[in-house]
């Protein structure tokens, strides 16, 4: 089987979208390094993929360990063609709750650690004059929302960071891809009732075709593009009065 990305790395690959993506890419023949904290889940992926998914237990908040882990993975894979930062957290935040512990975790996992990992991959790709750098952001990053101020801020930051990386790296032959899923059924959204919800399998299929098809920005599913076009243009005063 021929794969577009023989050597891939997914950070945040132990469940939900990341785990499904890892298996799908492995199914195309790729070797996929999978990073997350839960070793048992990663080992299960390795077993399911006949060893094509390579587990690397690690916490993205262990900033001191990250550079060496990245180097080891690139070494083990013998190079890198595709990098995906998918790790993310969205702890429930109640109405009128101002909780720095949760805020900090979201900013660190969704944004700060994303910057650290993606910078490492970006430097590698820039020097190689090749590669695909992908970040899983969210439609939630398009506007600040009253129900999840810091989650939306972390994703807005991630989207802006990836846009800047695209402006920096396209000239070097590196493709930078921003994925913006709408609601997806995963452990993150367990128990939540959200509009236009799709399965992780559907989401992973759409992401793989965006990666293979040469996209630089993909709404998942595509219907979110026109919706978000409208939402982006709704005047701020409307948001202050509604529950969006």
């Amino acid at each position: 089987m021929s794969t577009a990305f023989p050597r891939a790395l997914i950070v945040g690959a132990s469940s939900g979208i990341g785990a499904t993506l890892a298996l799908k890419l492995a199914g195309t023949g790729a070797k996929v390094a999978a990073v997350a904290r839960r070793q048992a889940e990663l080992d299960a992926l390795a077993a399911q993929s006949a060893g094509r998914v390579l587990p690397y237990a690690g916490d993205v908040l262990d900033y001191a360990a990250t550079p060496a882990l990245f180097d080891r993975i690139v070494d083990d894979l013998g190079g890198l063609d595709l990098f995906i930062y998918n790790a993310g957290v969205m702890p429930p935040v109640e109405e009128s709750e101002y909780n720095f512990d949760k805020d900090r975790q979201m900013i660190e996992v969704n944004f700060l650690a994303a910057v650290q990992w993606s910078n490492l991959a970006a430097a590698h790709f820039e020097a190689a004059r090749a590669g695909v750098l992908c970040g899983v952001s969210s439609v939630a990053g398009e506007r600040g929302r009253r129900g999840s101020p810091v989650y939306t801020a972390s994703k807005a930051g991630l989207t802006a960071y990836f846009e800047a990386m695209r402006n920096r790296l396209t000239r070097y032959g590196v493709r930078v891809v921003t994925i913006k899923p709408g609601p997806v059924e995963t452990p993150m959204t367990a128990g939540l009732k959200l509009p236009l919800m799709i399965t992780a399998d559907q989401a992973a299929n759409e992401i793989v075709s965006a990666l293979e098809g040469g996209a630089t920005e993909a709404f998942v599913p595509g219907i979110w593009r026109p919706i978000m076009f409208v939402v982006r243009n709704v005047p701020s005063f409307v948001f202050t009065k509604t529950n969006i």
Partner: protein, 476 residues
């Protein structure tokens, strides 16, 4: 809190000036001798390999250390003392040639040896033992260094001079940063009485006539350089335009003293009548052989019909023309380019340079322009100079020509070493271990290895160039 391990320092993509060699390294930017000493001892303890870098003006991989640590010396660039009576400057290694002359020229002193660009740092200049268009007369920069301070990975802090540990002194000069970090340089400058030089141009219709002209003028010139048409074959093979320059004596140039002002040195906004900013685009347009052939023809024709009458030109304009073409490298985008600069003994120059030009033409890989210079023997342990000539050629690198280009350069290197020739690490991307072994010989390499064992017993220092040509292997 213990200091962060060196391997976790910020990273950057570094390239050589030809931007076809690149790699990612962690980097640190020392600001003092203490910083340098601390990094060296920690690198040793933490098992990190490190290489120094000045302005990164070496063309290939001499200032690269992918996967390791780069010691970026540019933030250690103070002038420590300046004696305007005797023309002696003491400076930290990050001082650039440009910063040097802008400080000293108004007092009537110019660096005795400068490269074709003013951006290199003094550290990079002494580590490579740079040459100018006057090596046949003034030697390399090593001939003007009065003293050096060196910190070795082994922990020694030493002051070196032609009389204090000369063996190590003449190995550090031209030792491409493999013996330690140079932290202070004391340099003797050259007295000048005008901010300008007297320049004369001639054309020479063949390679032979070019070499004869050079030999004629080594006695009565301070600078000699020629721009060689590498494209024309047959009877006009190696035809060139020679530039010869001399210093002006006291009183010879009525505006001489006024021209010593650094502000008077910078070039106007036009180069040969073309606005500077569009020169790279023009070059890019001509970056195919046919176009370049037309350019060569026009340049050559201009010099044939043009006057050989001497004219006056500022030092900076004479030496650093390329610096005034913003981003001229972009004419080689996206693949970049390499420079190949063999050095050939004078007796062998005619046949060997003829062979080099013919072979590259036959392979269909031709330099757009060649630069010929004349040298005298050099005292450093690993010299590139010898009593003879060098021909520097720029070759664009593309995905399609890369393998052929490297093969061609390998063949040319065989021809060069066969004739007793040498090479220059600052201008290299293609040398193989056997080329370096033949060029310098086992005796010089063994002496260098012995000094390495003393200065860097744990093998902390590394550059991609040193590794590629096998110096690490010779050592151990």
């Amino acid at each position: 809190m213990p200091p962060r391990p060196l391997a976790q320092s910020p990273r950057k993509v570094f390239d050589g000036f030809g931007f076809c060699q690149r790699s990612v390294s962690a980097f640190v930017q020392p600001r003092s001798v203490e910083d340098v000493a601390a990094v060296l001892s920690r690198a040793s303890e933490e098992g990190v390999r490190l290489g120094m870098r000045g302005s990164g003006r070496s063309y290939g991989d001499a200032a690269l250390n992918g996967g390791g640590l780069i010691l970026d010396m540019r933030h250690m660039g103070r002038v420590l003392s300046w004696d305007a009576e005797r023309g002696v400057i003491e400076a930290e290694p990050g001082l650039t040639i440009r910063e040097l002359w802008t400080r000293t020229l108004a007092d009537g002193w110019w660096p005795p040896v400068v490269s074709g660009t003013a951006w290199p740092t003094l550290g990079g200049c002494v580590a490579m033992n740079i040459h100018g268009k006057n090596h046949f007369r003034m030697g390399g920069i090593s001939d003007h260094v009065l003293e050096l301070d060196l910190i070795t990975p082994g922990g020694e802090h030493v002051t070196l001079s032609p009389t204090r540990d000369p063996e190590l002194f003449f190995a550090v000069l031209g030792g491409f940063g493999m013996l330690g970090v140079v932290t202070r340089i004391k340099l003797q400058l050259k007295r000048v009485y005008s901010g300008r030089l007297k320049v004369q141009q001639f054309h020479t219709p063949t390679l032979q006539s070019q070499l004869e002209r050079f030999e004629q003028h080594t006695q009565d010139s301070d600078y000699l350089v020629s721009w060689v048409d590498c494209i024309t074959s047959g009877a006009g093979l190696g035809r060139a335009q020679i530039h010869r320059a001399t210093y002006l004596h006291e009183g010879e140039d009525p505006d001489g003293v006024a021209m010593l002002s650094p502000a008077k040195q910078d070039l106007p906004g036009h180069i040969m009548g073309v606005p500077k900013s569009i020169v790279p685009k023009l070059l890019k347009l001509f970056s195919f052989n046919l176009g370049m052939q037309a350019v060569n023809l026009v340049k050559y024709a201009a010099s044939v019909v043009g006057s050989t009458k001497p004219y006056l030109q500022g030092h900076a304009a004479f030496h650093f023309l390329l610096d005034y073409v913003p981003e001229f490298r972009q004419s080689y985008a996206p693949g970049g380019f390499i420079q190949y600069q063999p050095f050939v003994p004078k007796e062998a120059a005619l046949p060997v340079l003829t062979e080099i030009l013919r072979r590259s033409q036959r392979a269909g890989i031709v330099s757009y322009l060649g630069v010929l210079k004349r040298y005298r023997p050099d005292r450093v342990l690993l010299p590139h100079a010898l009593d003879g000539y060098s021909l520097a050629m720029d070759f664009p690198v593309t995905a399609a020509n890369k393998a052929d280009l490297w093969r061609l350069c390998g063949e040319l290197s065989d021809v060069v070493t066969e004739a007793g020739g040498r090479f220059y690490p600052a201008k290299d991307s293609v040398l193989r271990p056997q080329d370096v072994q033949r060029a310098w010989g086992q005796d010089r390499l063994s002496r260098f290895a012995a000094l390495r064992r003393r200065a860097d017993p744990r093998g902390v220092l590394r550059t991609e160039w040193a590794e590629r040509v096998g110096l690490d292997v010779f050592d151990r």
